[in-house]
Each structure stands twice: as structure tokens, then as C-alpha cells.
């Protein structure tokens, strides 16, 4: 079952490092839906995770991957809208400028959860580990919010 948008809250921000937090989206973004449990990564339920990544360091960095116990695979995707057509593609990384930020939001960059390993409902929380090219990994606590 296609999943809702979910926002992340970081457990610990880092001095001079990377910080992840709720994206700049309306408070009610993030849907609450029950996912069908389907561990086949090719046909499983999908979900999207949104967040804001803030780079406090003086060097540009990249989000290069993510993992979560709730999904068989977590991929980085980018949606692009051209002439009214929405196209989504996996990307190898998401760049974050030095002393800058990037917002993962609908119609743009997002994490895609493939092959959900359990149901996800509004109010549920789960962890996603974010891996960066330069910064230390970040543990992000994601809350499933009402769409």
C-alpha cells in the first residue's frame, strides 16, 4: 500500500555537522495509512519520507544512503515536474551545500521506502539511519503524520 509522507525529527543535532529535522511543509503533511506487509522489494508497498537537512559545516556534503528496519530497501529519489508531467527517478545522492540546507518534500527529493516490513499507521514512529559522504551517520526518528 502506498505510504504517506512522513516527517523526521533528529535525535541529536551535531555541532558543525549535519542536522535533520522536520521539513518546511504544512503541519498536516504526512499521511496516516496502513501499509500491507509485503517483504518483496520488487512489489512491496512504498512510502516516502520527507525532512530538512541542514549542513552546519563549511564543506558541501551529500546524503548517500539510508536504512530502516521498516523497509527492505531505502532509496534516494527525486521527482521532477516538467510540463505538468511528474517523473521520479532514483538518484545516487542528494547534495547539501556548505552552511546550507536541502528540503526533501513532495514533488522533489525524498527517501523512498520499498518493501515495508510492517504496517505503518498515523502516530507510529520508526528510525531511519542517514549516511553521508563526509558527515557522521545520523539517526532520524520519523513520525507518521496525518496527510
Amino acid at each position: 500500500m502506498a505510504m504517506p509522507a512522513m516527517g523526521g525529527e533528529t535525535e541529536a543535532g551535531m555541532e558543525g555537522g549535519m542536522e535533520a529535522g522536520p521539513g518546511t511543509m504544512p503541519a498536516e503533511s504526512g499521511a496516516g495509512m496502513t501499509g500491507e506487509i509485503d517483504t518483496d522489494p520488487a512489489t512491496g508497498a512504498t512510502g516516502a519520507v520527507f525532512m530538512k537537512l541542514v549542513n552546519h559545516g563549511g564543506e558541501a556534503d551529500r546524503l548517500v544512503g539510508a536504512e530502516s528496519a521498516v523497509a527492505t530497501t531505502v532509496e534516494l529519489h527525486q521527482s521532477t515536474l516538467t510540463d505538468g508531467v511528474m517523473k521520479m527517478s532514483p538518484v545516487p545522492d542528494i547534495p547539501i551545500p556548505a552552511n546550507g540546507e536541502v528540503v526533501l518534500k513532495p514533488g522533489d527529493y525524498h527517501l523512498m521506502l520499498l518493501g515495508l516490513t510492517r504496517d505503518l499507521n498515523v502516530g507510529d514512529e520508526f528510525d531511519v539511519t542517514l549516511r553521508f559522504e563526509k558527515s557522521q551517520p545520523l539517526l532520524l526518528q520519523v513520525a507518521v503524520r496525518e496527510q
Binding site: 509522507a5 498536516e28 505538468g84 508531467v85 511528474m86 521520479m88 527517478s89 532514483p90 545516487p92 523512498m112
Partner: protein, 197 residues
């Protein structure tokens, strides 16, 4: 010279004022260049019943083409529909929120039905044969294409036109909303159309 210039300016201003007053309500959505009867179609809803677009006259129809394996854009638009439904209050009874699948291979009626319950109990999901659906995509200028995703574990992704199409109570295809249009804008247009009909 100055007098001629001043007269010219007044003429221009008067023309602008006169034309601005004409043409009826200003819509937030993009007005179709030529407002005509919406192309009719018959598809099947999630309960197996036929859905004829022409039968919806008297109501506003919001049409969206999407699919249940779409992780960000479709839930966002359907979430917006949900907000529109709520904001309309009683007027929502005269609006049909319709999702036509862009992925008939995976969107079975059961799957579509379950997906829609998270957005609205009365939202309408439509399926059909590949030919029937393609005919509707063509009538509305909707681009749908399966994409094998290189470097992704997803079986495939579907690129699709993400606009919302509004058909007014007279059955005319009147407005188009681009992805990300605020629910309040749709509410404003729908209210204006229903109050006038």
C-alpha cells in the same frame, strides 16, 4: 503634447477598467483556452459499477490520474483533495473526487479501494482495460509512461501528468490545477461554480 499624452493615458486606463470588469469570476485554476464539454468516458469503479462522466452533470468533478505505488506526489494530491472536501463542508456533496489509475497492472479495484479509504470515504477510484484507460488519458492529454528504474528495487515507476482537471456542473472541462495548488484555491473555484449553478 502633454495634453495628448494625458488623454492617451486616460483612454488606456478606462479600457483596462472596462475589460477587467467583464468575463465573470476570476478563477484560481488555469482556465482552459476553449471551454467545451468534457470528453465523455465510461470506466469502472472499485465496486465494479460503470462510471459515466456525463452522468455527473450538476456536480463538480475533480479528476486526477495517479497510482497507488506512487510515494509522494499522489498521496499529496489526494491529501489536498481531502482538505478540499473538509473545507467545502456541505458543498462537498456536489463534488466528485475521482482518481483514475495510471497503473492498471498493479492497481486492482481492491487495492485502489483500500488506498482511497485513507483520503475520503466517497472518493471514486476508476479502473479499466489498458485500451479504455489509454483512451481517457488521450482525451485529457494525460501522459502516462512506465519507467524501469535503473538502480532501484522498485518493480517500475510511472511517470504521469500530475495536474488536476475540474469539470463544472454543466459538464464542461473548465479548469486545470497544477501539482501543488493550494486546497483553498480549489475550494474558492468550486464554491463559485456551485453557487452559480
Amino acid at each position: 503634447m502633454r495634453r495628448v499624452w494625458l488623454v492617451g493615458l486616460i483612454v488606456v486606463l478606462l479600457t483596462l477598467v472596462v475589460t477587467a470588469g467583464c468575463g465573470g469570476p476570476t478563477f484560481k485554476g488555469k482556465l482552459r483556452r476553449s471551454v467545451e464539454t468534457a470528453p465523455d468516458f465510461t470506466l469502472t469503479d472499485v465496486h465494479g459499477n460503470p462510471f459515466h462522466l456525463a452522468d455527473q452533470k450538476g456536480n463538480v468533478v475533480l479528476l486526477y490520474f495517479g497510482y497507488t505505488y506512487c510515494p509522494d506526489v499522489c498521496p499529496t494530491t489526494l491529501g489536498d483533495f481531502k482538505r478540499v472536501h473538509t473545507q467545502l463542508g456541505d458543498l462537498a456533496d456536489r463534488v466528485r473526487f475521482v482518481l483514475i489509475t495510471a497503473d492498471p497492472d498493479r492497481d486492482t479495484p481492491e487495492r485502489l479501494a483500500k488506498y482511497l479509504t485513507f483520503f475520503g470515504d466517497d472518493f471514486i477510484g476508476l479502473v479499466g482495460s489498458a485500451e479504455e484507460l489509454q483512451s481517457v488519458y488521450d482525451k485529457y492529454g494525460v501522459f502516462v509512461e512506465k519507467q524501469q528504474a535503473e538502480g532501484s528495487a522498485a518493480q517500475y515507476l510511472v511517470s504521469h501528468t500530475a495536474n488536476v482537471f475540474l469539470i463544472d456542473p454543466d459538464g464542461n472541462w473548465r479548469l486545470v490545477y497544477e501539482f501543488g495548488t493550494a486546497p483553498e484555491d480549489m475550494v474558492q473555484d468550486i464554491t463559485a461554480l456551485l453557487e452559480k449553478s
